[in-house]
């Protein structure tokens, strides 16, 4: 909320300077986000009068003037010529600071001392251009701080939290300022001169039973003359961001800003039957609001209706037909209290938020309704003339006595961690306008004022005590707690491990928004997704179910600025529709593009391929301790059908990896294939459950045999390797592939593979004969099962 310091001061005696007040408010919970000085970015400039002007003895272009303030006469050297004796001027005294940090001090100019400077409008930052010094009106008093004459003020922007509706007004802010600074709050009184007929003869008000309106007050002013408001009223409204409309509407807005009570002025002659009824809208009713829009209403919305139908949306906005216009003669001023939740529902349903609805939603002081009405009526009489009808209408069915709150100093001491004393509590609550007394030793009985709707329980009062006591006056005391080391939850630790392994493998972590465009969502062949009801943009409408499309976008972005080699990964949840709440599955995805090694002088310039990608995944699984992982040929909409592998961990599908589908190369303008993987964290974590166990070092020697053989290309190496292993699980320790050859010297459709089989027993040294015997069986298996033609063994 924006408010003027000068306006605030109308309610305060002994207010501290603006910036000090701002600091004090901030430190007691009313955050002042900015303080802007208006009309006077200077100090130490006073009004003065030119007594005489002569030519400077040593300079033709300068004058030497005698200028007097209320207390002294000063001699001033001046370059301007437009002043004459008797003129009033703005005089910067030594020590003055002008806009731009320009400081004034006594100085000798061509041998003559100048004791200050007569200012131009440019020098004071009031205008962009000016000729000569500024000549003030003849009636300007002497020796006055020039800022006061200019109406200098400070505009403060306060961040008001939703609990403090009472601060949404000048008067409320002044009350708070008084409580937190010790200044005195002086309220204004308004008396309405009631020169007209009794109000009952002019208008009638009724509230339908159970309507969410606890109070409705109104006054009638007859014979008003609608016209523009005086300049000072206009200026004040505009400074607070409110457009001036006409004198009557301006008064309602001024009162709203000053007291926080939203008001509405009806043209009484345009209310059918000169009466209003507060009631829920009927099904099918509509209203044209003063912004010119027709709005469809329903019974959850409260309206102010005349005989004809809705005339205003209660607490939100008035209706166009009954609004005050230039021809209005009689006005009905409404000051009411509507249920916050009712106003909020209406405002939200119609997407119509106003200064009025904002305040009603948060809560208006029900006891301030009549006072605001009187203030408005008296101001209307002043600005628009007319006669006020006798007496207000004031229907107040919802009057209720607020309950007393018991406050225990012992409980407060425990919660706050300080020794809270009864006298202290009584003092603080008293300053806040809360009537409080000690009802029994250590217990204070407190009755908050009606404008503090946020104070309903003991904890609310504890907060009041703490904030006035000062949070920074509360000591810091480390808690006494059972000694126990903190535990990084298992999922968190596992994710950390993934990140560290992948970054170690050269992958840089990216973070993308969880919501993507529908197009990006559909790329991976997903069906229905988790959609936002109220997305911000089309690019952010569906919660992603796959991470790869986002990585492809990241690649495109980096390619655009010539970053040709990439290894990136992302660890994030994917979202899948579920029963009620969507299901979140954490995934880790990576992308490889460009060179295998970083470009430079000493690495081969090979491009990454499928096996780099698979290698990354294998090392990741190994690093995570995942057991029983298997890769199977697979298909995936994003991937090359011949270069796709599906991962299974613990028998469960756990992700895919492969080369990006050639169709996508064009889309991303790729010159080389890109490779991606996307793994499901949960099955991998489940497969990684076992901790590491030491296996005894071998005590007996190994014996290695190499085999080279030619076999059909269609036979997967994985099957061959498994078959070799299974030949003798006891003595075959490892099977390593060390060569793959296609091409000349071997028949087409075949390839040559070379593996080294290492034999070792954990119980004894194997004899040559034993090794030969097992190896013979390996060779036989290759021949019999895979039709392999063994070349060397």
């Amino acid at each position: 909320m924006l408010f003027s310091y000068n306006w605030l001061k109308e309610y305060l005696e002994g207010a501290p300077p603006a910036r000090e007040l701002a600091e004090r408010l901030t430190m007691t919970g009313t955050e002042i986000e900015s303080v802007v000085e208006t009309g006077g970015g200077f100090t130490n400039v006073v009004t003065a009068q030119v007594v005489e002007c002569e030519r400077h003895p040593n300079a033709d272009k300068l004058s030497l003037c005698k200028v007097r303030t209320d207390r002294e006469e000063l001699s001033i050297v001046c370059g301007a010529r437009n002043m004459k004796p008797g003129d009033k001027v703005a005089l910067a005294l030594p020590g003055a600071e002008l806009p731009g940090g320009f400081k004034i001090k006594k100085s000798k100019i061509r041998g003559v001392e100048s004791q200050g400077m007569m200012c131009s409008e440019v020098e004071l930052g009031l205008k962009d251009t000016s000729e000569g010094i500024m000549i003030l009106p003849e009636d300007a008093p002497l020796g006055v701080d020039f800022r006061t004459l200019l109406g200098a003020d400070f505009m403060m922007e306060a961040g008001i939290t939703p609990n403090r509706a009472d601060l949404l007004s000048i008067r409320g802010m002044a009350r708070e300022a008084a409580a937190v600074t010790g200044a005195a709050f002086k309220d204004k009184e308004f008396r309405v001169e009631e020169a007209g007929r009794p109000v009952g003869e002019c208008a009638a008000v009724s509230i339908e039973k159970d309507a969410p309106c606890r109070r409705y007050a109104a006054r009638v002013v007859d014979g008003v003359t609608i016209g523009p408001s005086p300049d000072d009223v206009k200026a004040r409204l505009e400074a607070h961001g409110v457009r001036s409309i006409n004198n009557v509407v301006d008064v309602t807005n001024l009162v709203l800003l000053e007291t926080g009570q939203p008001l509405h002025a009806f043209d009484l002659d345009r209310l059918d039957g000169a009466s209003v009824n507060v009631r829920p809208a009927r099904e099918g009713e509509t209203i044209i609001t003063i912004d010119g829009k027709e709005r469809k209403l329903d019974p959850s919305m409260l309206v102010i209706a005349d005989k004809n139908g809705p005339a205003a949306l209660a607490g939100v906005m008035g209706g166009s037909p009954s609004e005050v216009t230039d021809s209005t003669k009689r006005v009905l001023i409404e000051s009411a209290w509507f249920e916050p939740s009712s106003v909020r529902r209406t405002s939200r349903k119609l997407s119509l938020s106003t200064e009025s609805s904002y305040r009603f939603e948060r809560g208006v002081d029900i006891e301030g309704v009549a006072k605001a009405l009187d203030m408005a009526a008296s101001l209307i009489l002043k600005l628009a003339g007319g006669k006020a009808a006798k007496g207000p209408i004031d229907i107040y069915p919802g009057k209720a006595a607020p309950p007393e709150i018991a406050f225990s100093t012992e409980r407060a001491s425990r919660v706050l961690g300080i020794g809270v004393k009864t006298e202290q509590v009584l003092d603080i609550l008293g300053r806040l306008g809360i009537s409080a007394r000690e009802s029994s030793p250590g217990v204070v009985s407190a009755l908050p004022p009606t404008y503090r709707m946020d104070l309903t329980t003991e904890i609310d009062l504890m907060e009041e005590v703490a904030r006035i006591f000062g949070y920074n006056n509360i000591p810091t005391t480390l808690p006494i707690a059972t000694v126990a080391p903190g535990e990084t939850g298992k999922p968190t630790a596992f994710k950390r491990r993934i990140r560290s392994l992948l970054s170690g493998a050269g992958f840089t972590e990216v973070m993308n928004y969880s919501f993507v465009s529908k197009e990006l969502f559909a790329m991976a062949g997903e069906g229905a997704g988790v959609e936002l009801l109220n997305p911000l943009t089309e690019e952010q409408t569906v919660m992603r179910a796959d991470l790869i499309p986002s990585l492809l976008e990241n690649m495109a972005r980096n390619l655009a600025h010539k970053r040709e080699d990439l290894r990136i990964f992302e660890l994030a949840p994917a979202f899948v529709p579920g029963e009620g709440v969507p299901v979140e599955k954490w995934k880790v995805a990576g992308l490889l593009y460009g060179l295998r090694y970083e470009p430079g002088w000493s690495f081969p310039k090979d491009a990454v391929d499928f096996f780099d990608t698979k290698g990354v995944v294998e090392r990741l699984l190994e690093g995570l301790g995942a057991e029983g992982a298997r890769f199977e040929a697979a298909v995936h909409p994003l991937l090359h059908p011949g270069k796709t592998a599906a991962l299974k961990a613990g028998g469960k599908p756990a992700g895919i990896l492969g080369e990006l589908h050639p169709d996508l190369l064009d889309r991303y303008g790729l010159r080389k294939p890109a490779y991606v993987f996307e793994l499901d964290v949960e099955p991998i974590e489940k497969a990684s459950g076992k901790g590491k166990k030491y296996r005894e070092l071998p005590r007996f020697p190994e014996s290695a045999r190499d085999i080279a053989f030619i076999v059909s290309e269609g036979v997967p190496f994985g099957d061959i390797m498994e078959a070799i292993r299974k030949t003798d699980l006891k003595t075959i320790e490892t099977v390593e592939l060390f060569d793959v050859y296609y091409g000349r010297n071997i028949p087409s459709g075949t390839r040559s593979l070379a593996v080294r089989v290492t034999y070792r027993s954990r119980e004894r040294t194997l004899t040559n004969q034993e090794v030969e015997e097992t190896h013979g069986r390996v060779v036989k298996t290759l021949f019999e099962r895979f039709k392999a033609e063994v070349r060397v063994s």
């Binding site: 939290t161 961690g417 005391t477 707690a481 968190t492 950390r496 979202f575 969507p582």
Partner: protein
Amino acid sequence: MSRRVEDLEREALQELSRASSERESLREARNRYLGRKGEVAELLKGLGSLPPEERKKAGEAVNNLKDRLEEAFDGALSAFDESEKRERLEKERVDITLPGRSIRPGKLHPVTRITDEIEDIFTGLGFDIAEGPEVELDYYNFEALNFPKDHPARDMQDTFFISDEVVLRTHTSPVQIRVMEKGRPPLRVIAPGTVYRRDSDLTHSPMFHQIEGFMVDRDISFANLKAVLTLFLERLFGGTAVRFRPSFFPFVEPGAEVDIRCVICGGNGCRVCKGSGWLEILGAGMIHPNVFRKVGYDPGEYSGFAFGLGVERVAMLKFGIGDLRLLFENDMRFLEQF
């Protein structure tokens, strides 16, 4: 005999100096004098023919000669080795200013780095780490945290909806409720995670990260809150000044906003701190009795504090990042700096 010794020594040393330019001749010369059938060995053999009274003295002289010659020849030979080695090593010289070769590790996202750092500080203080879902029920995100339906406090957090009752969590605070429902005090927990708000401009991202923390036990006070958070902020920012201001969050009371001395200007006032010299860094407060009631704790028996902070903001301050959007653009030129 002694004459023979002297002669032999002179002769050998002369030969040594002649041969010293070539390793082979040096080795041959050494063999000639010191070999198994060399001159010195001959001399030693000849000792047997001397009378016993001379034998001892002569033996000593010959052995001394042998030692001296060995030293001379071996010294010359090893000098030869040394210089050859020097030459060879000189040839092996590399340009050490060429860049080193390595497989460069990737970088972790600055948000991850800060999250890890904060987690480590709190686990050191005995806090556990918990996680919760990003798509949340209205109940956990608002209702149980004392944000009633139709309450303006909900406007504080612009919300993305999946359905009437399902939202993208607007803060990590729902994890408080989930943890308290499952466990019993004493509790010391932090919950890092991704959160979402329907707000996007220069200083707001619709997705960002928070770390929630809370401590619940008997007799946990506001003074405890101040101590733990001050300690944390001092660790995180390296001994900064901290101040506490009253503020409002529905799920805590008394509520506080915690500021640190501006890390950019040191408190003199600058653009980042909007001239105030202070930076808002944490929201905190004593857990509201209504929240305890929702999870079935007796607010008369237990008390606790809770806090939350935005990870991006900390990352921006600590790394001096001026533009929030950089954190989600995934530009390698940016990411590789961390």
